[in-house]
């Protein structure tokens, strides 16, 4: 009898753990690319090791990005980005913590493309700001391809453009997020 109860208890525990795990989707190899288009130079940096977690039950989401993880084509751009602009030694990480506000509209168990309204706090260069944007969730066979494009102003995050190139470097940066999320088994 005791043994039977134990088995039932273990089975229940296992079910709870599994279902808890399936609520969350994640990646550690998400991609974030930023573009700055300006007369002096077009700058493009890409990070291929972005960590992201989405809780499908609550709609909560979180991103973590190492600033030193951005790759550039030109050596000088990489150096300027890290040393002069984002000061990656001092502020190594960018972070987003937020949620999908229309989470109830998304059926995570049904394949399809859904528009997600995202609200949250974005921290770059040690400064946290409220952001609001839209994204696309493509649900396919239990996986989610999450993408979003939005703009941030360097001045909002106290990222200073050296005065010598002030008129030639854009204050507005386009950020493109593309993450293939898998179920998180925990």
């Amino acid at each position: 009898m005791l043994k039977k109860n134990l088995i039932i208890a273990l089975a229940l525990l296992f079910t709870v753990t599994v279902s808890f795990g399936q609520d969350r989707f994640y990646t550690k190899t998400g991609k974030i690319t930023f573009y700055s288009k300006a007369p002096l130079e077009d700058i493009e940096g890409k990070n291929k090791t972005v960590t992201a977690v989405l809780d499908s039950k609550s709609g909560a989401m979180q991103f973590a990005v190492q600033m030193k993880g951005f790759e550039f084509e030109k050596q000088l751009m990489e150096q300027h980005f890290n040393e002069n602009y984002v000061e990656s030694d001092k502020y190594p990480k960018a972070e987003f913590k937020g949620a999908i506000s229309n989470n109830a509209d998304i059926n995570y168990s049904k394949d399809g493309t859904y528009t997600a309204k995202i609200k949250g706090k974005l921290t770059i260069h040690g400064i946290t700001k409220d952001v609001e944007t839209t994204g696309t969730l493509k649900i396919n066979g239990g996986k989610i391809d999450a993408s979003s494009t939005f703009n941030v102003l360097m001045s909002d995050y106290n990222i200073k453009i050296p005065s010598i190139v002030k008129d030639k470097v854009s204050n507005s940066i386009k950020i493109v997020v593309d993450c293939d999320l898998e179920p998180l088994k925990s």
Binding site: T29, K48, T51, V53, Q62, K68, E71, D180, L184
Partner: protein, 148 residues
């Protein structure tokens, strides 16, 4: 005499301009062909960040790392994950634009040697969504190192 001086000054300016232009155009180096600063296993690298984060940062971040480990996941859009099946802690590797297809040389479950620059780490904290993700050490500008 004056004319010679003008020509010399012009040549100096032209040379300086050419040098500045070359500097500006210089591409980021291919890290995979460089001599590594550190040769380490994936497990030892993760252990180092778990034991003493400050020391590990000093030793490994910004350094060229040759890391050996078991391929856990392959992302065909340019990333590879090294780690043990039973552990959430992993090394995530972003492939350099010149090595984007290097994942084709790899097989999930097999040993691999990759080289890149350590760009940082993430440690799970208990108060957020990332609590169960363990420690993650990240490499960028990486590629598969050919066996000698």
């Amino acid at each position: 005499m004056k004319r010679i001086l003008i020509v010399i000054i012009f040549l100096i300016i032209a040379a300086a301009g050419w040098y500045a232009y070359k500097m500006y155009q210089q591409k980021t180096p291919d890290i995979v062909n460089k001599t590594p600063d550190v040769v380490i296993s994936a497990n030892d690298l993760l252990d180092a960040f778990n034991k003493d984060t400050a020391l590990a940062r000093k030793r490994y971040v910004d350094k060229v790392i040759e890391v050996r480990g078991i391929v856990k996941r392959i992302d065909t859009t340019g990333s590879v994950v090294l780690g043990k099946e039973e552990s959430a802690s992993e090394i995530t590797v972003g492939l350099d634009r010149r090595h984007l297809k290097d994942y084709e040389k790899l097989k999930v479950g097999s040993n691999a040697v990759l080289q890149g620059v350590c760009s940082g780490y993430d440690k799970a904290s208990s108060d957020d969504l990332m609590a169960s993700l363990g420690t993650t050490v990240e490499l960028r500008s990486a590629g598969v190192k050919e066996k000698k």
